[in-house]
């Protein structure tokens, strides 16, 4: 019944009858920053206000609801103890927050984040940080497959090694791996940056559309349409800054990194008829 009530709110607000033609986005805001640095509906949290959650005997949704309640109460630092490798912990947080997870997570941990800074002392399972929008996540140990799947933005860091299909379909952000990455990393990557200090498995960057992959170690082989490119001074400056930030900068620097980009041989737009292309774009 709650959903029905909400639908009536949208009707009362005229969302279903307002004219959309002729509406110009430029008329809807001014250059002055009226809203501060946070989203309009974000919780006002204080990083110095700290709370703990013992997740030992809790379901994942209970943990997630408690995180939300604590943020609503102004807590800016939350520590989750005994996560027990439960799935879907700490998902959908659209707020600035310091989140410390003491232990390991199961599948789909810390997904759909937009803003928090997360530190995980253990390991993570498949699809960690899936669809993350913004923020930082640092994992101290290893991660499973499809690490950072469909990542949109932010920094996702694993200090150990990660499984296969890392950054599959990523559309932005940076994935940083201190160790090795498995096969098909960067598969169908669309944009963003992947930075691996160790080795990469077979079919790296297979069918990538755009974006950049930097590999510090050996590459087993490249996937379809993934090609080496020149490592520029700007790339080196960015790599150095990023790796230093997460204490992963190799002693020998970044000059040995190999840069991989899309060859754009798979861009098939010019095989379409003009009318088809207009529909696609």
């Amino acid at each position: 019944m709650e959903g029905l009530n909400q639908d009536s709110v949208s009707h009362e607000m005229g969302m279903h009858t307002e004219p959309l033609t002729g509406r110009d986005i430029k008329t809807m805001f001014t250059l002055e920053n009226e809203g501060g640095y946070g989203y309009h509906d974000a919780f006002d949290v204080d990083y110095n206000k700290r709370a703990e959650i013992n997740a030992d005997n809790m379901e994942a949704n209970e943990v997630n609801n408690q995180i939300r309640d604590l943020m609503a109460d102004g807590h800016g630092t939350i520590v989750i103890k005994n996560p027990g490798a439960k799935h879907s912990i700490a998902v959908g947080i659209l707020n600035r927050l310091n989140l410390i997870i003491e232990g390991s997570l199961g599948y789909f941990g810390v997904g759909l984040l937009d803003g928090p800074n997360v530190r995980i002392t253990g390991r993570v399972g498949w699809s960690c940080a899936e669809n993350m929008m913004a923020g930082t996540i640092v994992i101290e140990k290893n991660a499973g497959s499809t690490f950072g799947a469909a990542l949109r933005g932010g920094d996702l860091v694993c200090k150990g090694s990660v499984g296969s299909r890392t950054g599959i379909d990523m559309k932005g952000g940076s994935i940083i791996v201190g160790g090795d990455t498995g096969a098909f990393s960067g598969f169908m990557m669309q944009r963003g940056r992947m930075l691996v200090c160790g080795n990469a498995g077979k079919n790296l960057g297979d069918s990538m559309y755009d974006g950049t992959i930097y590999i510090g170690g050996e590459i087993r082989d490249l996937g379809v349409d993934a090609v080496p490119a020149e490592l520029t001074d700007q790339d080196k400056a960015w790599l150095t800054r990023k790796l230093k930030q997460y204490e992963l900068l190799p002693k020998k620097g970044v000059d040995h990194f190999t840069k991989i980009v899309a060859g754009k041989q798979l861009w098939n737009y010019d095989n379409l008829e003009p009318t088809e292309k207009k529909i696609v774009l």
């Binding site: 709110v9 809203g35 913004a134 952000g173 755009d210 349409d225 754009k264 003009p274």
Partner: protein, 136 residues
């Protein structure tokens, strides 16, 4: 540009998509549309050019760098400078009153600043949508 058969036009001039239609290759001219992004999506930010406003935003969020804004660039929509807002899936046009810097890095910083100001504004379309449709 990497590869040997890039099918769109190369970006050679910062004003390429403002001065003209940006159509360079034969196929683009035939289609009457540009192929691919109208900016270099892989351009990493020059941190010497970060604005004071963006520095304040980074401090507020507790980040050491631009984080998700590293993927935000000034693009060009319909011949006008604009920045893409992923939250509304639409382009935010840069007002005519704003003078554009001469290089893409400074333009990108301007785009990032404008996007944050827009997203955090109480007039952002998501505020209305949130009131109307939020279920919990």
């Amino acid at each position: 540009m990497a590869g040997t058969s890039y099918k769109g036009s190369e970006i050679k001039d910062v004003d390429q998509f403002i001065k003209g239609d940006g159509l360079e290759s034969d196929r683009e001219k035939e289609l009457g549309q540009h192929i691919g992004y109208r900016y270099d999506v892989n351009l990493v930010p020059d941190y010497d050019r970060v604005t004071p406003f963006l520095t304040g935003y980074m401090e507020f969020m507790g980040w050491d760098d631009l984080n998700w804004l590293e993927d935000v660039h000034m693009g060009y929509d319909d011949g006008k400078p604009a920045v893409f807002d992923r939250n509304i899936n639409g382009w935010l046009a840069i007002p005519d009153s704003i003078k554009l810097p001469k290089n893409q890095q400074d333009r990108d910083m301007m785009a990032r600043e404008m996007l944050i100001k827009f997203q955090m504004s109480p007039d952002h379309p998501m505020v209305q949508l949130n009131k109307a449709y939020r279920k919990f």
